[in-house]
Symmetry: C2
Subunit: 281 residues, 2 copies
């Protein structure tokens, strides 16, 4: 906790945009990547950009079934900010960008102006997505290229099925909450401890294979008896011990002999990543 050990960074956040309205000024390459990032968070989008400035990908988004409104014109002033929760601009006109930024700041609307860091309340970073799993890599503007290189390395080394495992654990947690409801208190603590025990005693690949029947048995035989059964005890398969019967498509000696090597070994197999684009401010 020395005074030089912190500082100089950003506050990394997972911003919530469900039912929120995001205005994107501009429709080029950068704007199209903004659209994608914002759609991931289920935002309603308005794009202001003359038709002539639309990138092919932006056009595809506008013509998609997503909730996107497009105005074929330039930014028209303060009226365009009415009811807007966030503004992202990606236009070449630096002066206009600065005007939009000050209009936003007067109205306390969070704003990002591409390529003008001082006009940004927040930056974008390199991102990875695998279902409910999202990872952002930021170099705090020092090197977008190295961010990108690191992103690829992380992507190649992500545990297989990480996204599926998280999804299943989320479902299990929600079923557990139905069975043992209540916010905080003793039951909340016991729920948390048991979920941690499940996550640490099962492999990621085993968690990913949880189905409804297995979840029910896990809750009946595990939660109710305050223990964590193994995957095979609830009808699944123990990934790391059962050589030959492993259902994974990439059996690897390392994952059987030395579980600690599993992550490095995973680098050799493809990882399902839905979105992996480089986003920069």
């Amino acid at each position: 906790m020395q005074s030089h050990s912190l500082g100089g960074g950003s506050l990394l956040l997972a911003w919530q945009l469900k039912n929120k309205h995001v205005l994107i000024v501009g429709g080029g390459d950068v704007a199209s990547s903004r659209i994608e990032s914002v759609l991931v968070a289920d935002a309603r989008i308005t794009i202001i950009c003359p038709n002539t400035g639309l990138h092919p990908l932006t056009k595809r988004f506008i013509n998609s079934p997503y909730l996107i409104t497009h105005h074929d014109r330039l930014f028209g002033g303060a009226d365009d900010l009415h009811g807007v929760d966030m503004v992202l601009t990606a236009i070449d006109d630096v002066e206009q960008s600065r005007i939009i930024c000050s209009l936003c700041r007067e109205r306390k609307i969070p704003v990002n102006v591409a390529d003008i860091p001082e006009s940004c309340d927040f930056y974008f970073g390199s991102q990875i997505r695998d279902g409910p799993l999202q990872i952002m890599i930021s170099t705090n503007g020092q090197s977008p290229k190295l961010a990108n290189i690191i992103r690829k390395k992380i992507e190649n080394n992500l545990p297989k099925h990480a996204g599926e495992a998280i999804e299943k654990v989320g479902q299990l947690r929600s079923q557990l909450k139905d069975r043992a409801p209540g916010v905080g208190g003793e039951v909340g603590k016991r729920r948390m401890r048991w979920m941690i025990d499940v996550c640490t005693s099962w492999e990621m690949a085993e968690l990913a294979k949880l189905d409804n029947a297995m979840m029910k048995r896990l809750l009946d035989d595990g939660w109710e008896k305050n223990t964590v059964p193994s995957p095979e005890e609830v009808g699944g398969r123990r990934e790391r011990y059962v050589l030959g019967t492993r259902s994974s498509t990439t059996p690897s000696l390392a994952t059987i002999i030395l579980p600690v090597l599993a992550f490095a070994a995973g680098a050799a197999s493809a990882t399902a990543v839905f979105i992996s684009r480089h986003h920069n401010h």
Copy 2:
């Protein structure tokens, strides 16, 4: 771009807090981790919490040289939000939390209420920091424990010296901008291309060793002649070819024979990570 392939996630951001004022209501364990996250981004902090509720770590922060103001009392209402840019609450009183949340929303102040997702404009995730490099892992609230497990795996597999490499590349980029100034246009594009060439032709460990003399030679002999000299051509050492003279403390055969294995090999060596705490909403 199918309608079911996106959505369900968050917008991951690197929020800027330099010269901003963050109010933290509460002083317990969660609050102390919030203080740390916010100090990373150079915010000015006010903590409102009775002395009796302060976690030892919170006390240490309050007594540190950081810009932290502490009020030994409970939240006092709207007046406490005057001039505040962001609010984080971590108190046990659910009703009070909801009141603070609505006061913030009326004033368009971004707010995070620990443990009440619907009262959060944003969530926290598991984080890694290595100098200018920051990485966030979010499971969108599905499984904080798996986020933590994935964070540790990423941390153990991060290229050694990644943070230092980013720092040096940032310095090189800034020296290049002094030498060839101008926003956007042809020179901007040429700068970007050359920086990408440097980042892709030098190893991370080589970039990390750049000093001022090497940077000058790299710019004189590289940028000016539109080429990228090797590390030894500017007075450094080629990490992957020079067996025996490598100055790295962990020479590894894999990095000499198969550069593609370098990342996996890096997993075996400790990585300098300054902050690696688990933050949850």
